[in-house]
Amino acid sequence: MKVLLIEDERQLADSIIRYLSGENYVCEHAASYQQASEKIELYEYECILLDLMLPGGDGLQLLDEIKKQHTDTGIIIISARDAIDDKIKGLQTGADDYLAKPFHLSELSARIYSVIRRRKFQNSNILELNELKLDLLAKTVHVHQQEVILTRKEFDLLMYFLGNQNRVISKNALAEHLSGDVADMLDNHNFVYAHIKNLKRKLGEAGCDNYLKTIYGTGYKWEI
């Protein structure tokens, strides 16, 4: 799957590309408005990651351009501007998601996964993975055709893991994913452990293989 990263900061771009290339993504990079504009003209992408602050032009304007030419491309805004206005404007212009820097790479990967899923399988929102079957719209999970009742947070976690298969995810990242800004106000993130324990137990009881491994005591990994 092709992803275009529009980001002028070299170091950030490198890190994102490195993280994403481990998944099934082919990641291309544009460092300026001009480059981005050219690439959009020439190629099709599954998902475009757009930094709003670009040399040579306004990111929101570029967003307009993308929307006109590629109606079925998922767009995620990644911005250092944590301005509510930008977020609302971006989402109104047609971005699918908005991520304020700094964020965890696993968070980005999970968002890309979700956006592409949503775009690609517009008609059937069913995601199948061996014995697992997820209905993204109804937010239901089946294991061997038998429904497993998950809480909203457990479902969120499952989607997060699926968006970061074979990667080690820190408890930190999971806590931030589940609770947003509030997470880092607390000294410990034991609640993450509780949710994961429940998710593992429910999937295990339904006969699902144990894909979710605990790594180094503090991290988790969905291994396939």
Partner: protein, 427 residues
């Protein structure tokens, strides 16, 4: 506090009063003196006329006696009497009861006693004239003085008002402008031009002072915002690199722990940075949107949102929410306010404690158990209560205060019955 003009006014009035009061005895003395002088002259003329006329008539002794008798009867203000020896002339001033019109009471007379010979006999002539009594003179003069004092006072007040309206107008207009000036909401102040040199100088220097302050304040605010923005990228880079490092193999448990610790501190820095940015944005009035918020629903949903943390510490929440409490405010900021207050209580509670959240139509109260009272002054200050060993940024309550100030609400801390009570009042 008295107005400047009233201060000088008071001195003027006091001075005028003293001068006018002093003038009363002076006027009296002069009037009395002139009067007495004139009456003395009058008496002298009358006496002289009487003497000369009598001497010129060359009456016989019998005729003279008859004439003197008749004279004394007809002219009560004079008395002609034969005496043994002549003495030097003398004057006197006397009060006497009015014999003829008793209702007039006491009268004052100026008299002259002269001696002259007629037909070889010495006669004493007493010539009197009625003179105004002292107290009547004083009353009359005092009354006139009082009337003029009142006219003077009225005139001073009137002129004073006119002066304050015209002369001091630029001063009061400048004063009004400075009064309404607020550094947090700086609008360039332009004073009205005046023709008075002193006011022009005052306005000029005030303008310079205010412009300087605005510039410094703006610079400082922009600095915070710029610094925070500039930090976002390097923070992101560190975070990404740590995420990548976490993927490398093989990784020992110790190394993974180090990465986690680094992540944790990085989160704190990120959060401080975000909070500083939020404060700077509030100071730069970048949160203008206001809407009516259903606070009852918002508090309830916020508690649900935070239930993970509550469960983590096995905290109980006692909710007492009045229904349909609504409030006009910026929703983003009100949510931050709620999060900060509730999380503050969560973080400082001991496990299995109870947090009480009470919402009434006028205020919101959040309390948790505590051992000793905290310093309210430090509590709401930036980094006033931060400690290096917690994840708290030391900015949460400062943000609460700023949000309250922005909306015109009042934030308060109380320690009562072993409870830390934080209250936000808006009515």
């Amino acid at each position: 506090m008295k107005k400047l003009l009233n201060k000088s006014m008071k001195a003027f009035v006091l001075y005028a009063g003293i001068v006018l009061a002093c003038s009363i005895p002076a006027y009296y003395a002069i009037v009395d003196f002139i009067w007495e002088h004139e009456l003395k002259e009058h008496n002298r003329i009358m006496s002289e006329a009487t003497r000369q006329n009598l001497q010129a008539m060359s009456l016989s002794d019998t005729e003279l006696n008859e004439a003197v008798l008749l004279w004394n009867k007809l002219r009560p203000e004079t008395q002609l009497q034969q005496v043994e020896t002549a003495r030097p002339d003398s004057t006197y001033n006397i009060y006497r009861k009015n014999k003829y019109i008793p209702s007039k009471g006491w009268d004052r007379f100026q008299g002259l006693v002269t001696y002259f010979p007629i037909n070889g006999k010495t006669f004493r002539l007493t010539q009197e004239a009625n003179m105004e009594e002292s107290h009547e003179t004083i009353i009359a003069i005092a009354a006139v003085a009082f009337v003029f004092f009142m006219i003077l006072l009225g005139g001073l007040i009137f002129i004073n008002r006119k002066i304050s309206e015209k002369l001091w107008l630029p001063f009061y207009s400048s004063l009004q402008k400075i009064k309404t000036f607020d550094l947090h909401r700086p609008e360039q102040i332009r004073f009205e031009p005046t023709t008075t040199e002193e006011f022009e100088a005052l306005n000029h220097h005030l303008e310079k002072l205010i412009d300087g302050n605005i510039a410094v304040y703006k610079q400082q605010k922009e600095f915070t915002q710029n610094a925070s923005h500039e930090l976002q990228t390097p923070l992101s880079i560190v975070k990404f690199k740590l995420d990548l490092l976490y993927q490398s193999k093989p990784l020992s448990e110790e190394q993974s722990g180090i990465i986690n610790d680094a992540h944790r501190s990085l989160s704190k820095v990120t959060r401080i940075n975000k909070n500083l940015l939020l404060l700077a944005k509030m100071e730069n009035s970048q949160f203008n949107g206001k809407e009516v918020i259903d606070l009852s629903a918002l508090v309830a949903s916020h508690v649900v949102l935070l239930e993970d943390f509550l469960e983590d510490k096995q905290l109980t929440v006692q909710l007492q929410l009045a229904p349909d409490v609504s409030l006009s405010g910026n929703k983003v900021l009100v949510e931050i306010l709620l999060t900060n207050l509730i999380m503050n209580a969560v973080r400082h509670s001991i496990p299995e404690d109870t947090i009480r959240i009470t919402l009434t139509p006028a205020r919101l109260e959040i309390s948790n158990t505590g051992a000793a009272t905290l310093d309210e002054k430090l509590l709401f200050r930036r980094f006033g209560s931060s400690s290096p060993n917690t994840t708290g940024t030391g900015l949460g309550l400062a943000i609460v205060r700023q949000i309250c100030q922005l909306h015109g609400w009042k934030e308060q801390y109380l320690f009562k019955n072993n409870l830390h009570i934080f209250t936000v009042t808006w009515a």
